[in-house]
């Protein structure tokens, strides 16, 4: 499977660098909905430490609710789990997960205090003998679009997956 198209579709100016808030997209679809505020009572927002199974259950549930097929819901669950695994391995701090969706796509945003210094992280296929390094590569394989922002204060990774068209012909 190849997803060569997604690199070209990455838009460097898709969000404001200072506020990290989405700005309106150039394709005329309007602004990406803002992620919900990190409120523990908000079902779309979760903080996690090592409870990755719980994170996966949440992502899988929302993915199906948003309209992804079971196979694509599995893909998204795998992708989010890999990103959250990086928090466990490298960030030494809790992470937060926000999920939102509209009629076209579901977005999972993971933030932690880790720092990614490699601008091509996850873009090269690692060797199976490498002993690691497959996490972000898998994420790039299964998602329709991946945005990574990282600086000394932390990393935000946004995983986009297109939803199947519904109501065709109506």
């Amino acid at each position: 499977m190849t997803w060569d198209g997604k690199t070209a579709r990455r838009e460097p100016a898709e969000h404001d660098a200072l506020t990290r808030q989405p700005v309106p997209r150039p394709d005329g679809d309007g602004p990406v909905p803002r992620p919900p505020s990190p409120d523990p009572d908000d079902p779309m927002s979760y903080d996690y430490t090592t409870d990755l199974a719980a994170i996966r259950a949440v992502v899988h549930r929302y993915a199906l609710q948003a309209g992804l097929t079971e196979a694509r819901a599995i893909d998204l669950t795998l992708a989010v789990s890999e990103v959250a695994a990086n928090t466990v391995k490298h960030a030494k701090s809790p992470g937060s997960l926000n999920i939102w969706y509209d009629a076209k796509e579901i977005v999972c945003q993971v933030h932690d205090e880790g720092v990614i210094t490699d601008p091509l992280a996850g873009r090269r296929e690692p060797s199976l003998d490498a002993g690691g390094g497959h996490g972000l590569w898998i994420v790039n394989q299964v998602c329709d679009q991946v945005e990574i922002e990282s600086d000394e204060t932390g990393t935000t990774i946004r995983l986009h997956m297109n939803l199947p068209l519904r109501g065709v012909g109506q």
Binding site: T50, L52, A53, S81, E82, V88, D129, I138
Partner: protein, 122 residues
């Protein structure tokens, strides 16, 4: 044997160990395998590799999820067995596990079978 870390649960059971009367070692991994329990998984699998089986079969039918950390634990077993002249075979991965095996092409390196008997027959 079972290991519980956080809310995640991973069970590794050795249900047969290769010997004069046993043609292969059979290990069943159930639950969810990810970075939070890879150390335990690796340690338990290393114990079986150290017995130098000629055929090590890992039944994945009860494994709901596997991430890249756990995958690397399996790849490490495969390399170790290879060096010892042994063979690793995987059995019955569920869809999420089959997906990561396929995405990483690990399924071209490690044979995957539909049943333990098929794996034993090679």
């Amino acid at each position: 044997m079972w290991y519980n870390k956080g809310v995640d649960l991973l069970t590794v059971s050795v249900t047969a160990r290769e010997s004069a009367g046993e043609p292969y070692t059979l290990v069943e991994i159930t639950g969810e395998a990810d970075v939070t329990n890879t150390d335990e998984l690796r340690r338990l699998l290393d114990e079986e590799v150290a017995q130098q089986p000629r055929t090590l079969i890992i039944d994945l039918s009860g494994l709901r999820f596997m991430d890249s950390s756990a995958l690397h634990a399996l790849l490490r077993v495969n390399r170790s067995l290879d060096r010892q002249g042994g063979v690793l075979a995987l059995v019955s991965p569920q869809p999420a596990v089959a997906k990561i095996l396929r995405l990483t092409t690990a399924d071209r390196l490690i044979p995957v079978f539909d049943s333990v008997s098929a794996a034993a027959a090679g």
